[in-house]
């Protein structure tokens, strides 16, 4: 059964990308263990507003683990201590009465802090814009069943396509590498027949953009896959390396 707990919060607060930030401590009583983590932060913000203070800024939208908008580094883990979920899916029943919870933004050079726990992830959009698509104009598509695709291939492509673009992989990586994110998109199209024509060009363009935007290099630590809320497997990175080498050799 659900009950209520008290928690101590240590939250990173920072006015802007260039300003100095610091941890601020808050105490919160009567948190229902049935509440989600973000509902707990909503409660805190309600109390801050009642005290005429500015609320803690954080991103969230769908609150069901699919839009990728929420982030937060909770007790040293992107999206908190439970594997395979986003912050919005984390529930307070995972914490104990009296716990101190440390909450930080994603920390990566490529994701500057906008305010408090909100960061700028435009770099991810820019990587996708560089080549994360099939160049195909609306209108002239052949019948959807013209090209059979084996269930096994479609399922693996789907697993890669499941990436929600939240940035946890970058935040988890000691090098701030975006390889898991990039490899998921490259893999989806490398696996499917529709992606073949631009396969090499795509791998080159997306990797080049990733490097240009200041993401670090991959050293195969695997923290990204371990912390990924959608369990995107590390094998995607192996596939990206293969795709990239093939593309470079073909140049």
């Amino acid at each position: 059964m659900e009950h209520t707990i008290s928690v101590n919060l240590k939250i990173w607060r920072q006015r802007g990308p260039k300003e100095k930030g610091q941890f601020v401590n808050y105490h919160l009583d009567n948190v229902s263990t049935g509440s989600s983590f973000l509902e707990m932060l909503d409660m805190l913000n309600q109390q801050l507003v009642e005290r005429n203070e500015e609320p803690v800024v954080f991103d969230s939208d769908c609150r069901e683990g699919i839009c990728g908008m929420c982030s937060l580094y909770i007790n040293g883990h992107p999206h908190g201590p439970v594997q395979g979920i986003t912050t919005c899916q984390l529930h307070m029943r995972k914490f104990n009465d009296g716990d101190t919870i440390t909450i930080e933004p994603w920390r990566s050079a490529a994701f500057p802090v906008i305010r408090d726990l909100m960061v700028n992830r435009n770099a991810f959009d820019q990587i996708q814009q560089a080549g994360g698509y099939v160049s195909f104009n609306c209108g002239g598509a052949p019948d959807a069943n013209d090209t059979p695709i084996s269930k096994e291939v479609a399922d693996v492509a789907m697993d890669s396509a499941t990436c929600i673009g939240c940035g946890a992989c970058v935040a988890a990586c000691k090098n701030g590498s975006a390889m898991l994110f990039v490899s998921a998109k490259v893999s989806q199209f490398a696996l499917l027949p529709q992606g073949q024509v631009e396969r090499k060009r795509r791998a080159r363009a997306m990797v080049a953009k990733m490097d240009e935007l200041g993401f670090g290099n991959c050293t195969n630590t695997g923290a990204c896959a371990a912390e990924c809320p959608k369990n995107i497997p590390l094998s995607n990175i192996a596939r990206l390396n293969r795709e990239f080498i093939n593309a470079k050799c073909a140049e």
Partner: protein, 675 residues
């Protein structure tokens, strides 16, 4: 029984009802409405339209600018396709990336009349099911076009590399959904909306890379700018800096989603809002059928007052799950008291009420019917959990198919349920309850998806067009993409064909000054109330009013009471709102306050629209109008029309304009899911 004496007293004391009474007595001026439906048989209308519409040649497209607000399925598909055609597109979203729009959360699937399963599907049958599912309150010509282009959507998405589910032979898989007797739903696990949106987002990215589409994130539209009777631009607030910005174009497209968060608790995302619709309304666009709001039957029940949103469990679960409550009231009471577990109740003591009441469709009856039936059982005292929940049981599916098959079909949904509720649905039935999910009503548009303001278009959920009084499952994705990929790109050309000589607009026109000034004054007004209540507190209060009085079951009394209570919430908003922080800075409280101010307008219009419609149809259930066995009693004689509302001023009465609905290809009948 309704106490008419008491009611008259209420009507007299309610300012809104006075306005409304005028409309009823016909004291309002008559307005005509032109839905521009092409001539000819319904199956040929769209073909004829495309054959005869005006086009814009490639060289002229380069000189024309289009603003698209929103990046969900409708917005992203429209922006990318218009970009592919050669128009200059300015695309806006409130999130940090176009990929976050709430279309992404759609789980179950997308309908198309491909008939790949050889089960008798056709364009006509999809059309028929959609009109019937909408309880004969949608426009025949629009729905036929929707069914017609549904097949193109699947082709388009596969060509983009959307990884739909497939059979072992390599062809596309389908599943069945509520309101249909064929399997026509295409899906990608329980993440169909995500995959379709990422497909549209990819196409959009290609156009952004080419410079054909310019993307503006974390921007919220706060007004439409009208110049000489045509929509020519928007005013937006930069959500990071707080700056007010101006953008001009030859046409403006709204793709801003539904207003379901008028109920505060809903399955919509935190940022979903009805503000663009309200701004369009205030600039002359009609709002239509606002009473038609869908309450989805399979959501996870509310846990407490701190709840911020509700989570939907895909309707696809109703394919294999059986819905029940205890047959005996004492069993239900014992379950609520924690003395009995659902697994303690033997089969013969379970009331599979949907199978009992609707034998032909059973657990797959349409959403409005399933939601009301759940409410009926809970109101009668048979609810479980907090009393506001029913069971969705997979015991029978596991017995029939084995746990592995069930896991393969629904594994991610079961995991999601367990994460939220802490119950294991493989061992104990899920608990579900209806929640606000989708809004069929919205901005009125004609056949070309143009609003009553020239050059202002509305696509996707934010328009009212295709679902009538109730939307069938897996049809929202279909409509969003139909509008964006296959309808608007045509009709937009027809509109712009005589605009080719109009030069690029600049934003120093006096109308932009005026609109920006109004936006600044509005913000300043809210900042200066300096009361004690946060926007969320007031929004929750509005949500309670809407859920209790304008929710699943409405009565004349509840609606009159709603108009009064909405007025009280409105007063509280304007006298006791507190917005901390400053206006010219990142300010999430101000964002919420601005959206809430618009929800108050929508809420009032929802209640008025529901009051006007003295019948039960689809999702709009007026308890006074039901048959002896509790089914909706439609009144085709008096209400077979689209109720369009025209704004006349903040404190003035809205004007009702009726667009009559004519059914030529389908025989109008009582909706029957029993036999």
């Amino acid at each position: 029984m309704i106490d008419m004496k008491k009611l008259e007293g209420m009507i007299d004391s309610s300012p809104i009802m006075k306005d409304f009474a005028d409309i009823e007595t016909g004291n309002m001026p008559e307005y005509t409405i032109d839905s521009k439906i092409p001539e000819g048989p319904v199956a040929e209308k769209w073909t004829n339209y495309k054959a005869h519409q005006k086009l814009v040649n490639p060289a002229n497209k380069r000189n024309l600018d289009i603003i698209v607000v929103g990046t969900g399925l409708a917005g992203a598909s429209a922006a990318s396709t218009l970009g592919e055609m050669g128009f200059n597109v300015y695309n806006f979203c409130i999130q940090d990336s176009p990929r976050r729009a709430h279309s992404i959360a759609a789980q179950g699937g997308i309908n198309a009349a491909k008939n790949y399963q050889n089960d008798g599907d056709s364009v006509y049958r999809l059309f028929y099911d959609t009109v019937k599912g909408g309880d004969f309150r949608s426009r025949e010509a629009n729905v036929y076009r929707l069914a017609e282009v549904s097949n193109n959507i699947i082709d388009q998405c596969v060509a983009q590399g959307v990884p739909f589910a497939r059979e072992y032979g390599g062809l596309l898989a389908n599943r069945s959904f509520g309101g249909a007797q064929v399997s026509r739903t295409f899906y990608a696990k329980g993440q169909t909306g995500q995959q379709l949106l990422l497909g549209a987002y990819a196409s959009l990215n290609r156009q952004i890379n080419k410079g054909q589409v310019r993307s503006f994130n974390r921007r919220e539209m706060l007004d439409v700018v009208i110049i000489d009777g045509r929509a020519r631009g928007i005013i937006v607030r930069n959500l990071v800096t707080g700056e007010i910005e101006r953008y001009a174009a030859h046409a403006v497209v709204l793709a801003t989603g539904g207003y379901g968060r008028a109920f505060f608790l809903s399955t919509n995302a935190m940022g979903c809002n009805g503000s663009a619709a309200v701004q369009a309304f205030k600039k002359g666009a009609y709002l239509a059928n606002l009473a038609f709001t869908q309450i989805h039957p399979t959501c996870i029940p509310v846990h407490g007052e701190d709840q911020s949103k509700l989570t939907l469990m895909s309707e696809s679960l109703r394919n294999d799950g059986r819905i029940w409550v205890p047959k005996k009231k004492e069993d239900a009471e014992a379950i609520r008291a924690g003395k009995l577990k659902p697994t303690d109740i033997p089969d013969e003591d379970r009331d599979f009420y949907l199978e009992r009441r609707y034998p032909a469709f059973g657990n797959l009856c349409p959403r409005d019917i399933a939601s009301r039936a759940a409410k009926e059982r809970c109101d009668a005292g048979y609810g479980v959990g907090t009393g506001n929940a029913v069971y969705l049981d997979f015991k029978y599916a596991i017995e029939r198919l084995g746990e592995d098959v069930v896991r393969d079909r629904y594994g991610n949904l079961f995991d999601m349920y367990q994460m939220i509720s802490d119950d294991n649905p493989y061992h104990t039935p899920m608990m579900i309850f209806p929640a606000s999910h989708y809004t069929m009503g919205g901005i009125w548009v004609d056949y070309e998806l143009q609003t009553s303001v020239k050059g202002l278009f509305a696509i996707g959920e934010c328009n009212f067009s295709d679902h009538g009084a109730n939307r069938l499952g897996a049809s929202a994705l279909m409509q969003g993409l139909a509008d964006g990929y296959f309808v608007l790109p045509y009709t937009m050309q027809n509109y712009l064909s005589d605009q080719i000589k109009v030069p690029h607009f600049t934003t120093d026109h006096p109308e932009f000054d005026k609109a920006e000034k109004a936006v600044r004054e509005r913000i300043e007004k809210l900042m200066n109330i300096k009361g004690t209540k946060s926007p969320d507190e007031i929004h929750k209060r509005l949500g309670h009013v809407m859920w209790n009085l304008v929710g699943m079951g409405r009565t004349l009394q509840s609606l009159v009471k709603a108009t009064e209570e909405i007025e009280e919430v409105r007063k509280e908003f304007y006298t006791d709102l507190r917005v901390v922080g400053s206006a010219d800075d990142l300010n999430t409280e101000l964002e919420k306050a601005l959206r809430l101010e618009d929800f108050l307008v929508i809420a009032k219009m929802m209640a008025i629209d529901a009051l006007n419609r003295n019948e039960s149809c689809g999702a709009h259930f007026r308890e006074e109008y039901q048959t002896a066995d509790g089914e909706a009693a439609r009144n085709d004689k008096d209400y077979m029309y689209v109720s369009c509302w025209k704004y006349t001023g903040d404190t003035e009465k809205p004007i009702l304009i009726k667009e009559p609905l004519k059914y030529e290809a389908i025989q109008v009948q009582t909706r029957n899911y029993k036999s």
